[in-house]
Amino acid sequence: MRQVKVRLTAVAAALTMTVAVAGCGGAKSDAGSSDAPAAGSKGTVKLAINPWVGYEANAAVLGHLLEKKLGYKVDKKNLKEEISWQGFETGEVDAIVENWGHDDLKKTYITDKKVAVDLGPTGNKGVIGWYVPQWMADQYPDITDGKNLNKYADLFKTSESGGKGQLLDGDPSFVTNDAALVTNLKLNYKVVYSGSEAALIKAAQQATAQKKPLLFYFYEPQWLFAKEKYARVKLPAYTAGCDADPKKVACDYPDYVLDKIVSKKFADTNSPAFQLIKNFQWTNDDQNLVSDYITNQGMTAEAAGEKWVNEHEATWKPWIPATS
């Protein structure tokens, strides 16, 4: 029942804080969130869980190491990307363990508000792009050039695309310029949001299995690419700054160096947990393996993390901070 004690201590601490805060004029937005680990406990690490399985793989492995090797309690919070960033401010979130770019958020929360800290790359290379199933690339060889998309718009018509071709996107919270791209590249397409990675994958699998046309937003690292082939559609090449104004983007997505972000408070503790997240680095293949465990082998994230940790000691050993 240690958790209870922690909670009660937290209440007491928060009460004290209220008084203190009231004394010096008003409550700050992080008032009431007490992060100080209670005595005799390593404390809790609050990991944001963004809604795609690759992210979950990172969190599964880190979570397992934090709990089993370092003795922390891990509190996983299912949050969308932007909301996770807001969590740094309120103290709801300690760490985001796979961040895709988000230069605007970095400016707000790292540079301006100074509530978050960049902990460097996860080792994963991120790619975002438009894809079609391989059979389409075979059948219509020039379809992989974005300039020819309008020619094939009819193929991609659905009940939802209102007479235009459909470009299927994922969760509305994902990093995407697609609506602007369709407009700015003058494509006769309409962006339709499937709502989630799972829906996107389901559609892609169906398109492959039943030879149905599909143009969709997708990304790497992604376990699906290890199972089925999809062809990327080339858009005008990315140049630095071509995506500066989200409304005027007319170029392809850049390659992302996925990185880890933690809250300033968490960083300031310089705890073993912080050290572990700072040291964490692996490859796309590593991540895809864990994603595959979770998605296709019916494992919970916890079990998948455990399995990977048991089988890859050489990879994670160096992440564990020396002090612990």
Partner: protein, 659 residues
């Protein structure tokens, strides 16, 4: 002999037609002709002036909200409004949540199960206690113990606040006419506001997490608490109050010793309603980082994992049933006509407390008390997922064809008409037809709502959403009337139907998205299917009640005149149930709107997507917030246009499953 029937119908039809416009009313001889004529004219004007409006950009409203957010972000820790206002609220609520969280977790699983049982035993009797124990155990059995307790924590926090604020407000509304009059329209809007629309403003003011979730839930749960309390206080017999006054009671003595005790059963019912509302909202707040079962469901939605959502939905239903039974029984027992022996009343709670303490201490000292025993686990996830996969695989062509047909034949044409209608023409049509259907006042309010949507710069999206809502409402009414009539005419069918409706009404709206997504993928049709499943139960209930409420004497007269069952239905029961049908349409359309908007999560687009994107992407925040307001306005519009017979008082009663 048909005279009986005709005569009986007249008084029912008349008030239904002009209910909102009291006072003498001259018959309009041309009325029969007027409506088709007006329809023709409208159609003509439409054909002449239709245009395809420009796509919604970020209008002035969206930009304003975007800037508002930037300002709030920049000043959250400096502006006195936040330093001394919202942040304190947030802090206070978070302390409350933490305290309740500490208390519930402090009991341990065994202690909490016992506490639920003991509480039920004391306030509701031993049968309910058994139900409570079984229900709480089932959370652990489903492997959702912590999630369920987290949900319970949020629900209890929100309900506690709703009662602390709502009951005094309700008393005030009943006692001070000005307060009552001022509150009524506010509550009206709060009740038709789709849950989804609350979330963005909540994150703006209170950030994310449990406090924001609790406040959002509180806002959703408080209208019935206020309304029903006011009702209860208003129903205290004047004779009793007068007698107490004549003995020299002060105002406070009257309140404390007469009004509140006499209104107690009703107030317990208000608590019951607040709990039911809170439970349905608390799940949605998972979108703004509220812990609990909502998280499980949102996650299941992201993975299209129907089985996982089924387990979580089941846990919510169980929790709702347990809390509902405890509070309804408690309300029943609170009635002044129920007298229990003084000894039981005094000793019962002590015994219950002792048992809870004993079990808690035992649980905390022994190893099995730390965590819910894994050996007791059971889950429906696997069979449900298998069934879903089978249906997906075998029905794919059929579902796809159905989706495409409905989209092409109904949805797209209606959407085209609505989106190519200039907003002013729509406004004029709303004013005219609104005045005919619901009276001039309602029409003006509806008209203002239309103008508001236009001003928010989201006309296109609002019309797309409206098209989806219309199609879903038609489907809802078809199914609702069908089942309602069947239920009213066949007792056996009704008996089977009732528990299904009970469960369906307590299921959080989110859960309905899943089977729909699994069957129909990401589309507007998915939202329609989910909306129909969500809105049919209350419509069925209303229709059934409407038909059953037709006086037995009238039915008897018609039968003795030789009506066939079919004639009885079409010539007597349905016409006389008109009021119930209108009310059902009103209730149905508001619920459909709420669900269609949630459909934004699964590709239904339009306003719902704007809201979802609004709290997912910073640059879309302004538009998301504007969309939230547009949804509210759309709700007001639809409610006013269909309110001909809708009466709020009934609404409150209807949200509650029949017991």
């Amino acid at each position: 002999m048909s005279a009986t029937v005709t005569d009986a119908r007249v008084p029912v039809a008349a008030p239904g037609e002009d209910a909102p416009a009291p006072g003498p009313r001259r018959p309009l001889p041309g009325r029969r002709l007027l409506v088709p004529l007006l329809l023709l004219v409208t159609a003509g004007v439409y054909l002449a002036v239709r245009t395809s409006a420009p796509a919604d950009g970020d209008g002035a409203a969206a930009r304003f909200f975007g800037e508002l957010r930037d300002w709030v972000d920049a000043n959250r820790d400096t502006s006195p409004l936040f330093l001394y206002g919202f942040n304190y609220l947030r802090l206070g609520v978070s302390l409350l949540v933490d305290a309740i969280h500490g208390a519930l977790y402090g009991l341990g699983w065994a202690g909490l199960v016992t506490a639920a049982g003991a509480l039920a035993a004391v306030v509701a009797g031993w049968r309910t206690a058994l139900l409570a124990v079984a229900g709480f155990l089932s959370f652990g059995v489903l492997g959702l113990w912590e999630e369920s307790v987290d949900t319970l924590v949020l629900t209890l926090s929100a309900v506690l606040l709703a009662v602390l604020i709502g009951v005094p407000l309700g008393v005030l509304a009943a006692r001070v006419p000005a307060v009552g009059a001022a509150l009524r329209p506010v509550l009206d809007v709060m009740q038709i506001m789709p849950t989804f629309a609350y979330l963005a403003p909540m994150t703006l003011l209170f950030l994310i997490g449990s406090p924001a979730a609790t406040i959002a839930t509180l806002i959703y749960a408080i209208p019935p608490a206020i309304r029903i309390t006011a009702l209860g206080i208003g129903e205290v017999p004047a004779a009793t109050v007068e007698a107490a006054t004549a003995l020299g009671s002060t105002r406070w003595q009257l309140l404390g010793k007469v009004r509140l005790p006499l209104a107690r059963p009703t107030i317990v019912l208000a608590v019951n309603q607040a709990i039911m509302m809170a439970l349905s909202m608390v799940v949605v707040t998972a979108l703004i980082d509220a812990p609990g079962l909502g998280q499980t469901i949102v996650q299941a939605l992201e993975r299209v994992n129907v089985g996982a959502a089924f387990d979580a939905g089941l846990a919510i239903v169980v929790m709702a049933v347990v809390l509902d039974r405890i509070t309804t029984r408690a309300a029943h027992r609170a009635a002044p006509t129920v007298h229990r022996s003084v000894r039981v009343r005094a000793v019962g709670p002590l015994v219950a407390l002792a048992v809870v303490v004993a079990v808690t201490v035992l649980g905390r000292m022994s190893s099995w008390g730390a965590e819910f025993p894994a050996a007791w686990r059971a889950s429906f996830a696997v069979p449900v997922n298998e069934a879903t996969r089978w249906v997906e695989f075998h029905w794919y062509d059929a579902t796809e064809a159905l989706k495409n047909a409905v989209s092409a034949v109904l949805l797209d044409p209606i959407e085209t008409v609505l989106t190519t209608t200039p907003w002013w023409l729509f406004l004029v049509a709303v004013l005219i037809f609104g005045a005919l259907a619901s009276g001039p006042r309602a029409a003006v309010v509806a008209g203002l709502a239309v103008a508001g949507v236009q001003a928010l710069g989201l006309w296109q999206h609002a019309m797309q959403t409206l098209a989806t809502v219309l199609v879903a409402t038609v489907a809802t009414m078809v199914f609702g009337v069908l089942f309602g009539v069947l239920g009213a005419r066949h007792d056996r069918f009704a008996r089977v139907l009732r528990p299904v409706l009970d469960a369906a009404q307590t299921m959080p709206s989110f859960v309905y998205l899943l089977p729909a997504v699994a069957l129909f993928g990401a589309s507007r049709f998915t939202a329609i299917v989910a909306a129909v499943i969500y809105a049919v139960p209350p419509v069925v209930r209303l229709v059934e009640r409407g038909v059953r409420d037709v006086p037995a004497t009238v039915v008897e007269a018609a039968v003795s005149a030789g009506s066939t069952p079919r004639q009885l239905l079409w010539k007597v029961q349905l016409p006389m149930a008109r009021r119930g049908l209108l009310l059902a349409a009103n209730q149905g359309i508001v619920m459909v709107l709420a669900m269609v908007v949630v459909g934004g999560l699964v590709g239904a687009g339009a306003l719902g997507y704007d809201v979802v994107a609004g709290f997912a992407q910073r640059e879309d925040f302004g538009r998301g917030l504007a969309a939230g307001f547009a949804i509210v306005l759309l709700g007001v519009l639809l409610d006013r246009l269909t309110q001909g017979a809708g009466r709020r008082a009934d609404h409150d009663r209807l949200r509650q499953p029949a017991t």
